[in-house]
């Protein structure tokens, strides 16, 4: 992490030069592609898929081979500049570990042994359809379920619903953004969504609570963060780790992990007791302010100091800084917020504070996004699915929406067979072994299945447990649904093939259509191909499909995004107001105003394990991308210098981590640094792959998720708080 990257490159070069392939122009030797290659330079617009920001991009081919990919200047998300993952996205094409053909688990082998035989698409799809028909006749269609992440899952989910299955969930809710969305809906009657509706570029003051913009590389947010810095906005960073963002901050608050809610309550205390909140906004739109004011009286900065370790003066100064700049100031709602199991309440505290700043739909606060609405391509109605969803029996989590669903709830149902057996999982583009907490439970659930299908581009850990693995074309080789995400200005962008798949990979829409045909449900996919589908829906929406294919992105009408431009402030809560006091939560038996509880502390000799992002990787999906792994081929564990000294651990030394349940991880390098507190350690998520099929990433770095055997479930919406694990060091590596 110090000035080593240069040296590192030289070292890598010695080790890998023998096996190196020229990566600039990806060396694709497939004759069929070569033969049809057009001479010269050709550019094709599409949108990126290395993460879920979906930036508009333009790929360039030189003599028929992929050369580079750049941002599409018309695209409002990328504004002509991709992030490092996007720029390195072409490495996904030449990834040496890509899945090449459909695979069926070898007869007699066990799940997890990674023993497969290559089969044809027809064999694979027939196998899946037969098993799905068996499940339906034995248990009913409700026993087939899916985990899906990202745009590409759309058509597979459609096939499943046509079959009669509606137990469909995604880790992006209960392992990521869910508490934030529920917390804001409860308070403001509006959710945050993706991209986040934060007006970073115009802000005068922004507080980041644990979110590490700059390392977390969601493109538009980072671009705007840089603009805010250039405009001399006051940045307040609250993080146990001195993040890159902390290095840009005017105020850095090195908070004790797990005590964020104490700080937030104390900020409320300061703003209310000093009368520096937005009184007019509260008067016009607030509900239950008096109760809030009464409740937070006890949360003085002196009280919060004991919990958080943040000096009372610093708490006051930052509260005043936020208030001084209102309404062009905000507390960022974060993105991955499943930390401690009370995350909905913490998100509610963030929403309440923002309302004290009166920043809803205000310049420099939150803005009102708009999106292009796309018509539905007409398909037959789904069969009736009158059964209760399996992930949330009896509405155990009252504010878990049916549309989102709970991954771990579905996993529980698969383990227990209650409320009814779940016998088939279709897993699309999510590595459940690393994305869900406690892999032992995931494996126990898998062992109860009659069918596990994994559809992905690389053989991640979860693929090793599959009965059938289907190789998907990467984003540069396929069509997908349009991107019409809500943003500052509405837009429509296209994903279209830039290059042919090198082997027997197929696009998700094709897989979904063929599987439907095998199930006798082909009429649910009436389009000839996705080109046909996209043409129909875009032209119906009034956009020229030919222009989309040529330009990649078309902007929709410009609408007012804040009060300054003429937008309104509407709150879709029960009271129609901003609910400082939530009668809704009260009726459900939860605290109507967030309450602080002390987090459990690590036993002596143990440290809280925190995890986060690096700018060049997305989850556990990119470690075999040769361009991105060259930027970072293993993660490190951040240990405070004093702690390292105390334990006799050197910077750069390999150690193993052991967690509170005795789970021991793979070898991971120590980054001994000043940049973290002494009571926690930090790792970038997604490394330490244990799938042998990921040859280029196998056991490189350590797996944070392997250490996450404990998690605290949010009783409101089933989010899984994962920052509750403690680790110690095993130095005899």
């Amino acid at each position: 992490m110090n000035a080593v990257s240069r040296r590192k490159f030289l070292k890598i070069s010695a080790a890998t030069i023998a096996s190196a392939t020229a990566l600039g122009t990806v060396s694709c030797t497939r004759d069929k592609i070569k033969a049809s290659a057009e001479k010269g330079i050709k550019t094709i617009p599409t949108y990126c898929n290395i993460c879920f920001w979906k930036c508009g991009a333009i790929a360039t081919l030189k003599d028929g081979e992929l050369w580079k990919i750049e941002g599409n200047p018309v695209d409002p998300l990328s504004r002509g500049r991709l992030c490092p993952r996007g720029t390195g996205g072409i490495g996904a094409y030449s990834d040496p570990d890509r899945l090449k053909t459909p695979l069926i688990r070898k007869k007699g082998s066990k799940r997890g042994e990674e023993e497969f035989v290559s089969v044809t698409w027809d064999e694979a799809l027939t196998y899946i359809a037969d098993k799905m028909n068996d499940i339906k006749s034995k248990y009913g269609a409700q026993s087939m379920a899916a985990f899906s992440h990202g745009t590409g899952g759309k058509f597979l989910k459609h096939t499943l619903k046509a079959y009669g299955a509606k137990n469909i969930v995604a880790p992006s809710f209960a392992q990521c953004r869910g508490p934030r969305e529920v917390g804001f809906e409860l308070t403001n009657g509006n959710f945050i969504g993706s991209p986040e509706r934060t007006d970073i570029k115009d802000t005068k003051c922004m507080a980041l609570i644990g979110s590490h913009l700059g390392e977390n590389m969601h493109n538009s947010q980072v671009q705007e963060f840089s603009e805010a810095i250039a405009n001399d906005a006051s940045i307040i960073v609250v993080d146990p780790r001195f993040s890159v963002a902390a290095g840009k901050a005017k105020y850095y608050l090195p908070i004790k992990p797990g005590t964020d809610l104490a700080l937030l309550l104390s900020w409320m205390n300061v703003m209310i007791s000093e009368g520096i909140y937005d009184k007019k906004f509260v008067e016009d739109f607030g509900f239950g302010f008096e109760q809030l004011a009464e409740e937070v009286k006890k949360y003085t900065p002196e009280w919060a100091y004991v919990e958080t370790g943040i000096e009372p003066d610093l708490i006051r100064a930052t509260a005043r800084e936020l208030a001084k700049n209102k309404p062009a100031s905000f507390i960022h709602p974060g993105r991955h917020v499943t930390w401690y199991g009370d995350d909905t309440q913490r998100s509610r505290a963030i929403a309440i504070l923002n309302s004290l700043l009166g920043n809803w739909n205000r310049k420099g606060g939150f803005y009102e996004p708009s999106k292009v609405s796309l018509p539905k391509y007409p398909t037959p109605a789904y069969p009736e699915m009158a059964y209760e969803k399996a992930d949330n029996p009896g509405k155990k989590w009252p504010l878990l929406g049916d549309a989102e669903g709970s991954t771990t709830g579905l996993r529980d149902a698969t383990i227990t067979g209650k409320p009814y057996p779940i016998k088939g999982w279709l897993v699309y583009a999510t590595n459940l072994i690393q994305s869900l907490p406690d892999e032992r439970e995931t494996i126990a659930a898998i062992n109860n299945l009659d069918l596990l299908v994994v559809i992905d581009v690389i053989p991640n850990e979860i693929a090793g447990y599959a009965d059938v693995v289907l190789p998907e074309s990467i984003y540069l080789e396929r069509h997908d649904e349009f991107n019409n995400a809500p943003f500052r200005q509405s837009f429509l962008s296209i994903r279209q093939p830039v290059i042919a798949s090198p082997d027997d990979q197929k696009p998700n829409w094709w897989i979904a259509k063929k599987l439907a045909e095998k199930l006798g449900l082909g009429h649910y996919h009436p389009w000839k191909n996705l080109d046909d589908y996209l043409r129909y829906t875009s032209e119906k929406a009034g956009f020229s499909y030919e222009r989309l294919k040529k330009e990649g992105v078309i902007l929709g009408p410009k609408k007012p995004i804040n009060v300054e431009e003429g937008a309104t402030q509407d709150f879709w809560t029960k009271s129609g107001k901003v609910e400082f006091y939530s009668t809704h939560l009260e009726e459900l038996g939860f605290d109507p105003i967030p309450k602080y509880t002390k987090p459990e502390q690590p036993p002596s000799g143990y440290f809280r394990l925190l995890f986060g992002r690096a700018p060049m990787h997305t989850f556990s999906m990119t470690q075999t991308n040769p361009l991105l792994s060259e930027l970072m081929d293993e993660n490190v564990v951040w240990v405070n210098n004093d702690v390292a000294r105390q334990y006799g651990i050197e910077n750069g030394q390999y150690i193993k981590l052991k967690n509170q349940d005795g789970i021991i991880g793979s070898k991971v390098k120590v980054y001994a640094t000043e940049r973290i507190r002494t009571d926690c350690v930090f790792m970038v998520h997604g490394f330490g792959h244990r799938s042998k099929a990921l040859k280029s990433a196998y056991l490189k770095g350590g797996s944070d998720s392997l250490m996450v055997t404990k998690y605290k479930v949010d009783p409101i919406m089933s989010g899984t708080g994962m920052n509750v694990n403690f680790v110690t060091f095993e130095t005899e590596a």
């Binding site: 990257s5 190196a20 700059g214 671009q223 001195f242 290095g247 060259e630």
Partner: protein, 178 residues
């Protein structure tokens, strides 16, 4: 006559390495090599820390030891002050690699010495170098220091800056705003 160089705003840079990967794809730099890289410097004691993140590369020096020590004339100063290596003339003796205080040069697997060219091929077309054009934080500026009206010249008039290892006397042409 132009004098090209870069100004890099360390306040904006987040160290994401987009510049590194953009250079690799634009210039088809082989696996295991790189023409630009990141440096991270942290000083102080937690939590009172100061951090500077810098994207670094060949400084296209006015007084380039790599050019002076080249026995064949392959290393030379080209139009606009861009220091280049003529591949055909290079014998791969590595004298220049050793002479560069910035460790900016490497021997390409094809046998010649390679390094940052300021994306001369793009500059000729009026474009910014790939690293500059891709940076999501817009922290890099490329331009002509001979033109007092250029953005790079103006930035140096307005802001505090430093160069790297100025004491080597190479007269580097990449400046870091602080």
């Amino acid at each position: 006559m132009a004098r090209y160089g870069m100004v890099i705003d360390t306040k904006k840079c987040v160290g994401c390495q987009d510049c590194v990967v953009a250079c690799k794809t634009e210039n088809q730099v082989p696996h295991g090599y790189s023409r630009d890289w990141l440096a991270y410097e942290t000083i102080g004691k937690f939590p009172k820390l100061n951090m500077e993140i810098r994207t670094e590369r060949c400084n296209h020096c006015d007084n380039p030891p790599c050019v002076y020590c080249c026995p064949t004339g392959a290393s030379h100063i080209s139009d606009g002050g861009i220091v280049l290596v003529e591949h055909d003339k290079c014998i791969g003796c590595k004298a220049c690699v050793a002479s560069c205080p910035y460790d900016a040069r490497f021997v390409h697997p094809e046998g010649y010495v390679s390094k940052c060219t300021f994306c001369e091929h793009r500059v000729k077309e009026g474009k910014d170098p790939a690293c500059v054009s891709v940076c999501p934080t817009h922290c890099m500026y490329f331009g002509d220091f001979d033109d007092p009206e250029s953005e790079v010249s103006k930035l140096l008039q307005e802001r505090k800056y430093h160069a790297i290892i100025p004491e080597a006397g190479t007269k580097p042409h990449i400046y870091y705003l602080t």
